[in-house]
Assembly symmetry: D3
Homo-oligomer: 227 residues x 6
């Protein structure tokens, strides 16, 4: 259940019996051979599955994140870190004003982590608000599966190659991860990463991807209990 | 053609032969009986139709706008005006960096107009950039149709009741527009507007809505020529 | 009655019996053959006449607005949109703190509209505050007069050529309005508009200008009732 | 010669032979028995006299400054320090863009000093710009006259009681300056300063005020040489 | 070698032959029984040892970081995330202007991570700048030692109990880590963490601490090569 | 007593019987032949002596200030004025939250004065807070000693040449102060001031420096009474 099929009266009804919300924060950036919108698509797919099981609402996704290091790849749209932080604050304040009290942020992009600090600041001024933040690819449950199959998770490699993020054929042969030290500018980043993947296998079997999806889903269902 | 079905290589190919882009800027706010996401849905529907005809890309939509006056209606999410302006700047700078030079902003919400001023500021620092801004409901072509059918256009009345924004049955009887003077706070706004519509008919015949959609579409197709 | 002839004790006396204020927000920008300060002079003249009739105070004018598109005309001074919005906020908060509760903003420049959104935001945090915004040239009463005399209102044409804004002889012959599409940078703006007028007659008869002035004045007197 | 009697063509002519400008930055705040606009009126009177002698232009005045400590006196309007700094930056950037290269800021209010630091920052990015800042009451020439007549200069006492800032009768008897330690909040400030004067004589003989005005004028004429 | 024993001529000499710099970014926040300044002391001690071996300069430390969640513990001083980010930007821009081109940030506090994103943004505008960021407690080399001794690293437990951060006796008995889910406000944080340690042993043997210090030092010496 | 030898429990004990704090705000900038950190070292030395006599705590110093005009001297690190102001606000808000109510700012650098205005703004929102600001070199007590010995105080001359700020031999012969008019950019500043001293004697006898130190110390001890 997404917000867009509802009007405000539906929200009022919803809020009479529920104060939980899922907020998807993604990015629009190069993902090698995968969709530019992968970082929205993955957490949104998880949110939609979780919503079907729990009836908990999903706010409209934040389609942009912080990706300054990928700006030399055509198509990447990056918010300044100060902008993203303000966007997240405004959304949280608005939904708090509406009556939501427990918000699970489903983050799709590592570059969005700075927004977490603003959430801590908000908790000090919005009484009774509870917030959680879930970045699926950093979850122990997901990492464990990767290790089980001896696959190394990385940006734009097999880890993000779900059926719904694939928009082109993927190379059959694994990529040698480039050796990186320190921070890269956008120009250096493109020079180092070439096709955009951080290396390793480009694809894993569907069953592995399912396993990962299910593991993340279980985490989310657990987090939605706000215990 | 939306960005989300593409990877960055596709973008590179696209940019080799084209420098135009459509950017949908919406809002997430009360629309009476209509979808909370109406201000995204309408310009996005127009953009998708225009894209099918022209092959011009659509950036991922900005799902939030400035709606401080509707914050007392559950579900409304409002960005501060300073935040929205920064979001728009960051997006324009990013796509300019990618190589886009002609951007048509398809705006879905009157409260987003302040962002226009930042666009003028950007034009003074980004050479060869061309920008247009289209708010469909303010177009002469659309107003003329409304007048032809003797329908008064207003927020959350028939004007925005497209098949794809309707999420509930609409009242059969027209609403008496409340008398408003000056600016309203969120609290006063809800007290004045009650169900959220600014008054008049809640619904028009499908054929009228089609006519309006086509008129706006023609405007967009014309603007995309950037003549 | 302007603030500058008063000391704070006078203000205290005033506020004991009155909580209304007029605030003039102008611009300092090219106006073709007319004064660079036209956008302050016109609303200030209206405010002074209204003040004489009602005794309602006028705050010192904001002499600068948002005019990025005219920066290539010598003399134009433009505030960034973020700056103007903050100025307006600070003024409103200050006068609210003093005890004013009803403020009519008399705006002289279209580029200042973004500040309206901040006013809505302020209404949500300053209880009992009432705000109105009047841009004289957009008023139905004024537009109606222009239509009556078959004159097309536009920037720096006859519409703004009041006796007190004229600082040079005006061309006798009407100007062909340049054809503009999309947003213009400062450089393109100067190239398109040449002398700065947006076209049409440069001057109207004094009696017409009087009629317009009186119409706007009546609007203001009505708005000052805050009904 | 003030900007308001000119159009942009006049400015273009002016800039062909001259690159100097005077900018008055004032305040709107309690001045005891004197005009709330004293901090604009004094530097503006000086600027106008200097302009008559030199033909150097005066920009429209900044009518507001930083006066947080006086906000409990009715009528005081205070910009946040961050806002004032941005206003000054925007004005300087605009006039630099117009072609001005030497700007003398005539400051009327001690609380505006923070803006000086932004001017230093601007000098590092705007080549060939030269800036001076003159706060008349801190000038040696003025202090010397005060000492000569054994008068102690202070906010809202005789020092600022020029014929054009007087808007009420002034107390005949000198005021005992309150003993202040540390910074005062707006509330404490009003409690300490009562009528708003910082103490001492309320008025000096016209001839002394003339002498001070002339001394400041000579300073300004000298600074306008930008030697 | 710290900056404070040098004058600008020394810096000029230094920069003639070297362009590397270490910048310590710490925090001032509760660390249980340990010094409030632990997050400065640890990276600074590492920097000083590295400086003795390499001759590379250390900038004056940033003594404050982002610690909103600890504000209910007396003594904690927290910068807003937006402030910290600006501080880091200004420092990097200044040292870049001086001629430094390779900067290793030695971070002492996890809450400072958002500043990393601004560094990426800066790399896109400051040519030839190279930046690295080292948070000693997240280094594989350090984690490996902790695992070797079967000690669990956490905030304000044995991990940070170096001889130079101890300012009081430490409890002999290990602490049961509180169970935390989601983000904590400052109030909840104090209630959950009580004495401020995140749990586990309060102290480890000196030889272990030495081993950790040496491991981090080796990492730093390696990073200073900027290979 | 500095914060860094304490843990939060110590602070809690301290705050049970005391609500005063000293905050040192310095700069990191060229000081001619003297230490780049002179503006921290001097107020910190004063604070430490005062702390020994009174037991009043010293917060960790702010090691950076506003020095845009010295950026062309290697080693100078300058915060934008907006950044410094935010840093000071965040520190004051944090210590206020901890329970401090009387804060004496010991400022070491004239360029930091803009932060004073933010302190006034804070006093209007933080009840019962008391703030003082002491810039030792502007104190009458210090100026009087300089006059007694016929020494002219100036940046980076004898005035700041304390035993603990000297890091190199000082020229024996006094420097002719350069003639400056108006504001200087960083480039012009270096060209004008050459070695960085503003002129006059480079050194005074130790006994004079002691006298000055003691005078400033007495001022501080008096201010710490917050009478």
């Amino acid at each position: 259940m997404r917000f867009d099929d509802l009007n405000w009266m539906d929200l009022e009804t919803y809020l009479a019996g529920e104060d939980r919300l899922m907020l998807v924060v993604g990015a629009f950036e190069q993902h090698g051979y995968l969709s530019l919108l992968s970082d929205v698509k993955i957490p949104l797919a998880l949110a939609e599955t979780a919503s079907k099981k729990t009836g908990i609402l999903i706010a409209p996704p934040v389609n942009f994140g912080c990706s300054p290091y990928f700006l030399s790849y055509p198509g990447t749209i990056s918010l300044r870190v100060s902008t993203l932080i303000d966007v997240i604050e405004d959304i949280i304040r608005s939904v708090y004003h509406s009556g939501f009290r427990r918000v699970l942020v489903l983050n799709g992009h590592g570059g969005n982590d700075p927004a977490r600090m603003r959430l801590y600041e908000l908790l000090n001024c919005l009484p009774e608000l509870r917030l959680s933040w879930y970045s699926w690819w950093t979850a122990n449950s997901v990492i464990w599966i990767a290790e089980k199959y001896n696959l190394k998770p990385a940006h734009a490699n097999w880890l993000e190659a779900f059926p719904f993020t694939k928009v082109a054929d993927l190379p059959a042969r694994a990529k040698n991860p480039p050796r990186i030290s320190g921070f890269l500018s956008a120009v250096d980043s493109r020079q180092s990463y070439q096709d955009g993947s951080f290396g390793g296998e480009y694809e894993a079997e569907n069953q592995i991807m399912d396993e990962i999806f299910q593991a993340a889903l279980q985490d989310i269902l657990h987090l939605l209990k706000f215990e």
